[in-house]
Amino acid sequence: MRAIGTLAHRLAILVYIAFALFPLFWLVKVSVTPNDLLYSEGIRLWPSRTTFEHFRFVLAHSDFPLFFRNSLIVSLATAFAATTLAGFAGYALSRFAFRGKLTVSGLLLVTQMFPLVMLVAPIFKLLSPLGLTNSLTGLVVVYVAFNVPFACFLMQSFFDGIPRDLEEAAMIDGASRFGAFRQIILPLTLPGIAATVGFVFTAAWSEMIFALMLISSNEKATFPVGLLSFVSKFSVDFGQMMAAGVLALIPACLFFLLIQRYLVQGLTAGAVKG
C-alpha cells in the first residue's frame, strides 16, 4: 500500500517535470533539426540527423548577436541601478520608523497593482521630446522604475533578516549610521543583493511590451523586439527562430540558478509581480 503511494508520488513528480521541460526540449529539438527533416520528421521526438547550422547562421548572419548585446546592456544596467536604488529605500523601510513610511509602502504596493499597459501611451509621449524613445537609456529608465518597488520589498525583507543589534553595536563602537550600513549591513546583505540583481535582470530580460512600443530601429532592438520582428518577417525559418529562442533562454536560466535559493523570498516580497 505504502509502496504504491510512493510510486504514484514519484510518477506524479515525473509528469510535472516532463510537462515543465517538454516545451523547452522541443525548442532545442527544432533548433538542431536540419531544414530538410523539419517537416518530414515533424513530430518525431528527436530527428534522425542533427545540425548546428541554425545556430551558426543566427550567430554569424543575423542581427541576433546585436539584440542579445542590447538586451544584456539594458538588463544589466536595469538590474544594477534598480538594486542600488532599492537597497537604499529598502534600508529606510526596514530600519527607520518615520512619518510617511506607511504611505511610501502603500505607494510601492499600488505601483504593483495597476495595469502597466496603461502607461504605454503616456510614457511614449513623455519620453519622445526627451529623446528617450528608441534609446536603450530610455528603456533602462523605464525598467528601473518598474522594478524598483518590487526590488525594494525584496531588499527590505533581506535587511529585516539582519538583527538591528548589529548596527546598534557598530554605532556604539563608533560608526555613524551610514558607516554601519556600509561596513556591517551591506557585506551581510551581499547574497540578498545578488538575488535582487538576479530577479530584476530576469524581469528586464523578459520585458516586451514597452520595448515594442519604445524601440523603433533594428540597432536598438532588444531580444524580444528582434525575435518578434524576425518571426513576423521570416515565419518559416523555424530552425533559426528556435535557435534564437535558445539563445534568449541562456541568460535567463543562468540567473535562475543564481536566484533559485531565494525564490520563496522573492516571490513573497513581490507576490504581485511574478
Binding site: A170, G179, P187
Partner: protein
C-alpha cells in the same frame, strides 16, 4: 571611568502610556549598577537611552558631567554588551574586538597590544582568527565582552548579556563579570530580569516596575528592607509570602483573617484597625513546634539542597523553605511560626511601614 547622572528622564512614544516616568538616578564612578525588573518595566529602554540608541523625551542624561542628550552613540564613549552579543558575522574574533579601535584610527601597534591584553584576560587567544559562527555560546559571550573591554570606555552597558546561556555557563560568566569589574573598576550598568544576577553582581540594585524606580539600594538592603510589595515579591526565591491582616494597636500585633495575632516588636504608628499586609520570606518561616498557625500541605518540592513546602495558610498560598528532610514524608498539615523580627509590614498602598 565616569559618573552617570540621570535627571527627571521620561520616555513616551507618541500617544501611548509613558514607558519611563521621571527617572532620577546618580551612578558613582566605578559603581556596578543593576537595573532589575520584570519584562516591560522600562529597564532596557533606560539603558538604550544612556547608550544613545533611544531618544530622550524629557530630562537629561549626563556621562562624566557632560549632558549627552544630543550626542550620537559613537560620541558617548560607552561600550555595550548585547543580549544577542551582536557579533559581526563577517568579521573574525580579532576584527570584532578591534572594530571600534580601527574606526578611531588607533595606531596598529596599540590595537594589537590592546587586543592581546583583552584576549588574554578572557582566554580568547586561541580563537582570534575564527568567525563567530565557529564559536560556542560561551565563547561568543566572551568576544562580546572583549569588544567592550578593548575600548576602555567611560562606562559599560550590559543588556541581559547572560540570558542566552545555559544555567551552568551563566553562573560561571556571572562570576567572571564580577571579577572583571573588580579588575577594571569601570562604571557599569547591567540590565537583567533575573534577581539572582542582580543580587550577586550589583553594588547597588535599581528595582523597576511599570516605568518607575521602586527602590535603589544595596542587594541586602533590598532583601532585608524592601520598600514596597513589588520589591518584596520580586527579590528572593521562592518569593516572599504575603498575608492580609489588620493592625491591632492595643495588642501591638497584626490580626490575620482568623483573628490570630502576630506580635510585632518594632514601634509602629498606625491607626487601630488599618489594613496591612504581612510579609515573611519562606526561608524565615519556622516549622514544627507547638505554637504557631496550622497550615495544610499542598505539595512537597525537594530541591536537593532543601525542601520547598507549598502550604495553604488561612486560605492563602504560603511557602516554607527547610533543609529538614523529615518534611519529605507527606503530612496533612504542619504548624508554622513567623519570627517577629523577620516580619515585613506594608500599608494599604503596599509601602513598607517602618
Amino acid at each position: 571611568m565616569a559618573t552617570i547622572d540621570i535627571r527627571s528622564v521620561s520616555k513616551a512614544y507618541g500617544g501611548h502610556a509613558p514607558v519611563l516616568t521621571d527617572i532620577d538616578l546618580s551612578i558613582r564612578d566605578g559603581e556596578f549598577i543593576v537595573l532589575v525588573g520584570p519584562s516591560g518595566c522600562g529597564k532596557s529602554t533606560l539603558l538604550r537611552m544612556i547608550a544613545g540608541l533611544e531618544a530622550i523625551s524629557a530630562g537629561t542624561i549626563a556621562i562624566g558631567g557632560r549632558v549627552v542628550n544630543d550626542l550620537a552613540p559613537k560620541a558617548r564613549d560607552i561600550a555595550m554588551v548585547f543580549q544577542s552579543y551582536a557579533l559581526y558575522p563577517h568579521m573574525t574574533v580579532a576584527e570584532n574586538m578591534t572594530y571600534s579601535l580601527r574606526l578611531k584610527k588607533t595606531p596598529r601597534a596599540t590595537v594589537a597590544e590592546k587586543l592581546e591584553a583583552a584576549s588574554r584576560k578572557l582566554g580568547l587567544d586561541a580563537f582570534l582568527a575564527r568567525k563567530p559562527k565557529a564559536l560556542s555560546g560561551g565563547q561568543r559571550q566572551r568576544v562580546a565582552m572583549g569588544r567592550a573591554i578593548v575600548r576602555a570606555p567611560k562606562a559599560f552597558l550590559f543588556d541581559e548579556p547572560l540570558s542566552n546561556l545555559d544555567a551552568r555557563l551563566r553562573e560561571q560568566m556571572r562570576a567572571e563579570i564580577r571579577k572583571l569589574h573588580a579588575g577594571l573598576g569601570a562604571t557599569s550598568i547591567y540590565v537583567t530580569h533575573d534577581q539572582v544576577e542582580a543580587m550577586t553582581l550589583a553594588d547597588r540594585i535599581v528595582a523597576m516596575h511599570g516605568g518607575i524606580i521602586q527602590q535603589v539600594g544595596s542587594p541586602l538592603d533590598l532583601y532585608d528592607r524592601p520598600a514596597n510589595l513589588f520589591v518584596a515579591g520580586f527579590i528572593g526565591s521562592p518569593g516572599m509570602n504575603f498575608l492580609p491582616g489588620r493592625w491591632d494597636a492595643g495588642a501591638r500585633a497584626v490580626r490575620l483573617s482568623d483573628d490570630s495575632a502576630l506580635p510585632v516588636e518594632r514601634a509602629i504608628d498606625l491607626p487601630d484597625g488599618s489594613a496591612v499586609t504581612v510579609g515573611v520570606r519562606p526561608e524565615h518561616v519556622g516549622l514544627g513546634g507547638d505554637g504557631g498557625l496550622a497550615a495544610a500541605v499542598d505539595l512537597v518540592e525537594p530541591t536537593g539542597h532543601g525542601i520547598i513546602l507549598h502550604l495553604r495558610l488561612q486560605d492563602q498560598p504560603f511557602k516554607a523553605l527547610t533543609t529538614d528532610r523529615r518534611y519529605l514524608t507527606p503530612q496533612e498539615s504542619v504548624r508554622v511560626t513567623m519570627p517577629a523580627d523577620r516580619l515585613h509590614l506594608f500599608d494599604g498602598n503596599g509601602d513598607r511601614i517602618a
